[in-house]
Amino acid sequence: MELILAIVLGTAFGFVLQRIGAADPDKIIGMLRLTDLHLMKTILCAVGVSSGLLFLGMAAGLIDSSHLSVKESYTGVVVGGLVLGVGWAVSGFCPGTGVVAAGTGRRDALVFIVGGLIGAGIFTVSYVALKETAIFDSLLGGKSTLADTGAYPSLLTGNGTLVAVLVAVFLIGLSIALPLRLRKRRADSDEKRDNNPLMPRH
């Protein structure tokens, strides 16, 4: 039963990631260069929708809070995120979208996966040495959440469902308000410069 669920949910997840363009490095690079924020709008909307539905589902008794799995906060989360960000921008893939992109027939995604296996291997081998440093020391209450889940400590007390729904509304609002691009193409800004006597001509 578990394996059938794994196949159905894994396939659905891969399918959706491909259909939103997340397995296309051009869509990722466009988002990170702030010239094509379509994927950013999709992600913000998805996080908002999932957060709202999850907490409403738990309040309605449809989702068991024992299924939650909140990860700990520690210095390594930030350092790891910073390192991952560089690799994400360089390759245009993250672990999940790299796997999906390999399924769409991209050869660079296979190369990314080989690199990923080596990166994960280096970490696995160096874990003993890293563990001795302060990098795994808890931050901000360790496994904590913003909204009260009933299963983990939360930063905000009060009705968890209400807090989560407010966060969800904020994220979905942000996804609607976000323009499709924050930076103009160079051609556009050149034109602006040419029409503006205060800006130096090149």
Binding site: E72, A109, G115
Partner: protein, 188 residues
């Protein structure tokens, strides 16, 4: 043609909620370690051993695989577990997604080199592979240090309003945006 965000966003969100309702939050990057360890254990069968004293029933000479009562070691010993099969199935999802992509006429061949890459570096396949490889090393090393990736921290984490999810997302975008602007700076 990709889905509009108004359709794609809710459907992606729904996938994450369904996964947690039926099983547990989605995560991907751990499975790179699991596959590494499967390969290591195949080469040298002493990497993961049965150990009735461990909480999971398995132990490893590697401290990372051995943590949390040998949780990872047990997954290495039993490849047909939920998390590993989930990630394998994502390959099929990608294949089907592309196969049934709405299109005009015949499906064009997939563009192997990203347009941003060709614009910046020209039609240079080896260089693309080099960047994809180096990116892969950094992404998975970083994800393992952080304890999760874009799926586990950014999506599943922020869904649960986990503080670690917000921290991770802020950190990842803080370097990804300037790096992308610097490397892929050429416009058409």
């Amino acid at each position: 043609m990709y889905w509009n965000w108004k359709i794609g966003g809710p459907l992606l969100g729904l996938t994450f909620v369904l996964a947690v309702a039926l099983m547990k939050p989605i995560g991907v990057s751990t499975q790179f370690v699991i596959l590494d360890a499967m390969i290591a254990d195949w080469i040298s069968p002493t990497v993961v051993v049965e150990d009735s004293a461990a909480a999971s029933g398995y132990a490893s000479s590697n401290a990372y695989l051995n943590k949390s009562g040998g949780k990872y070691a047990a997954e290495v010993a039993n490849p047909l577990n939920y998390s590993f099969v989930f990630v394998l199935s994502m390959v099929l999802g990608g294949l089907l997604g592309r196969r049934f992509q709405p299109r005009l006429g015949k499906q064009p061949k997939i563009r192997q080199l990203p347009a941003a890459h060709e614009l910046q570096f020209g039609h240079n396949t080896m260089q693309r592979y080099l960047l994809a490889f180096c990116g892969g090393v950094l992404v998975l090393w970083g994800a393992r240090l952080a304890g999760g990736c874009t799926s586990g921290h950014m999506m599943s984490g922020m869904m649960q309003t986990a503080i670690s999810g917000y921290l991770f997302a802020a950190a990842a975008f803080a370097t990804a945006v300037p790096t992308a602007m610097l490397i892929y700076r050429r416009e058409e």
